[in-house]
Symmetry: C2
Subunit: 429 residues, 2 copies
Amino acid sequence: MSQPLRLGIAGLGTVGAGVVKIVRQKAALLETRSGRKVEISAVSARNRDKDRGVPLSDYGWEDDPVALATRDDVDVFVELMGGSDGPAKAATEAALKAGKDVVTANKAMLAHHGQELAQLAEDNGAVLRFEAAVAGGIPIIKSLTEGLAGNEIERVMGVMNGTCNYILTRMEDAGLSYDEAFAEADGLGYLEADPNLDVGGIDAGHKLSLLSSIAFGTQVNFAGVELEGIGCVSIEDIRQAADMGYRIKLLGVARLTGRGLEQTMTPCLVPASSPLGQLQGGTNMVVVDGDQVGQIVLRGAGAGEGPTASAVMGDVMDIARGLRVTTFGQPAATLKPAPAAKATVAAPFYLRLNLQDKPGAMAKVAAVLGEAGVSIDRMRQYSHDDQTTAPVLIVTHKTTRSALDEALAQMGATGVVSDDPVALRIEEV
Amino acid sequence: MSQPLRLGIAGLGTVGAGVVKIVRQKAALLETRSGRKVEISAVSARNRDKDRGVPLSDYGWEDDPVALATRDDVDVFVELMGGSDGPAKAATEAALKAGKDVVTANKAMLAHHGQELAQLAEDNGAVLRFEAAVAGGIPIIKSLTEGLAGNEIERVMGVMNGTCNYILTRMEDAGLSYDEAFAEADGLGYLEADPNLDVGGIDAGHKLSLLSSIAFGTQVNFAGVELEGIGCVSIEDIRQAADMGYRIKLLGVARLTGRGLEQTMTPCLVPASSPLGQLQGGTNMVVVDGDQVGQIVLRGAGAGEGPTASAVMGDVMDIARGLRVTTFGQPAATLKPAPAAKATVAAPFYLRLNLQDKPGAMAKVAAVLGEAGVSIDRMRQYSHDDQTTAPVLIVTHKTTRSALDEALAQMGATGVVSDDPVALRIEEV
């Protein structure tokens, strides 16, 4: 029988406690499957005295995660603290330099430092795995890195922030305003300490940038993700979208083209009856198009104790079994730099404008769209109590974002459009 | 740089030719990802002269797959011949005995001989992988064996035979009879040489038995799969199901309970709006419920050159990367024997009877159901041209299959029911 695999777990929040529970309660199962015992040597967290619902007295304690990461009795450093820099990064680096394997759920750290950390792991004969960082319990990192390794990946797409999806779902189901749904999500503890990480699309953008790297063999380029949060989505947009058979989702799409790496994480309209449209609440979905496999769709819980701990344990079990893969599926030095490119794929767009109630106003808007080469598929103007502006909805024919942006820039100069227009891409998935 | 990984491919049908194409066309990509070259040393098929659309003159040729499997210049034997016994089994055994790794798409061989072949692989330090055997391009074997290794699996469920799904979809969409849709699928080359493998549920049953083994750590027990093909499904059932918001799918469900291993592969009603209900044509879906991860759903093409070759290459790339896992996720000797048990989970059932047009006939049917403890949720009796019998549809409240079988057995004795009743489980997924 092989030596036990000894874990050091830093961060004992919901996920950390979940990992401890699995290791304690499933010891026999884990040993049967991996051929060796999986044990915990020591743990670390900010507050030693907090009751986390799991007994910790069997394990060593370190106040300093760096000390934990480098303990002689730790084979795998499990980083569940979060934060792109600070203690998480320091401890991860210390572990890798000491030749210890690292399992992390930290998308922010990898989105910002993935390239250097992957290289550091390789230089020290260690592996750095992060299944739990993307789409919770869905085994998307493994599927993309290993299962689909015979494919050239054409596109990766997904709904990967459960909190945003919860807010959008509640707006539609309960008729809440964005602010009301936001407050509800906050009250339920769904939001990050900095809510903009969620609603600004940053967290989901981190995840997309990691998937892109694996899919296209490119260096992680989070700065190149075109980010737009869900704060611009009004209940009116939700209702209009529903009326036309669509739902609004914070959707990430990544493609590598001759022009560069196109990564967008923006609110989009998707058909209400499509798999993406039917996602409710905190459920995540990732859609991968490969040149051989066609389209693969994976769905599951995007967060929560059990699902995230399941993903952490998947990585731990790989290491216990001796399955060692490079962080992004190929040696870090072979990952190509990927300059960001504006998305060029043509798509229909949904536009909502407040048009001033003046003769010829609509003609001016139509002219601006026409000059930019954007043609109109459908349009609705609504009656309005307000005497000065009228809401107008436009669905365009397929156009590029840059043509649309040109039209939107010109629209301000017409003097007939109040407020900034809302423009959301329609993905016919 | 490591030594090249050298393949010997037996069987050059659609999938075999697809694998050859990937190895030829993606040589650089495969080498970057795995860190070594992936090459083909030799191939084998029944007919050397057939044009398969790929150049084969660079490779050695063996008429005998056993000779191919044991060549000195073959590291991995890729078995794509099919058939549970005969040359496929002989060559697989020869390869494993020679310590060579085997990648196969052969569900029938593994469903019948998985236990002994897994043991043979381990005894010889070889691995035997079979991602392509289940659900085409969907990386379900990898997800279940590795990604979800920290879970106790509670249920595995899926639509895993594209041909059956095609026939059922065409019956609904085009209003074809079963025989017409069957003939259409046959004309398109979708059916196995022995069509009963498809429409009898045997092929899908093979797949389910393999998933059960991984999920529950049990010996493959294909003989224990309760099989019912789609031949009993009439266009009338399809229409009635649609009327009530359901679609009929050939659905596999496996659970391990205290009583034993419950495996059913039977036509079921699923909500038309559910992910399973929305599957069209040849698309497959596997649903896994884990105690930690909750529900994970994977969807993709269940067959075809690209998807199946993608799965084969996933296994090949694992081996190239040195990722070595036991066949069913734990040592063969630790797989528990799994006696088959009748499914005991209560579910609503759909019943279709032809009731003789006699006074008191319905009362007799209702009495028989009541005596067996089966209560009626909804019932419809239709007007009928035929003067002697009337079609009656019943949806029961939740009941067990055994209670229902008891009622059905008694129903014959009433003398008021013509023909055998159709009874299909309703899965509210």
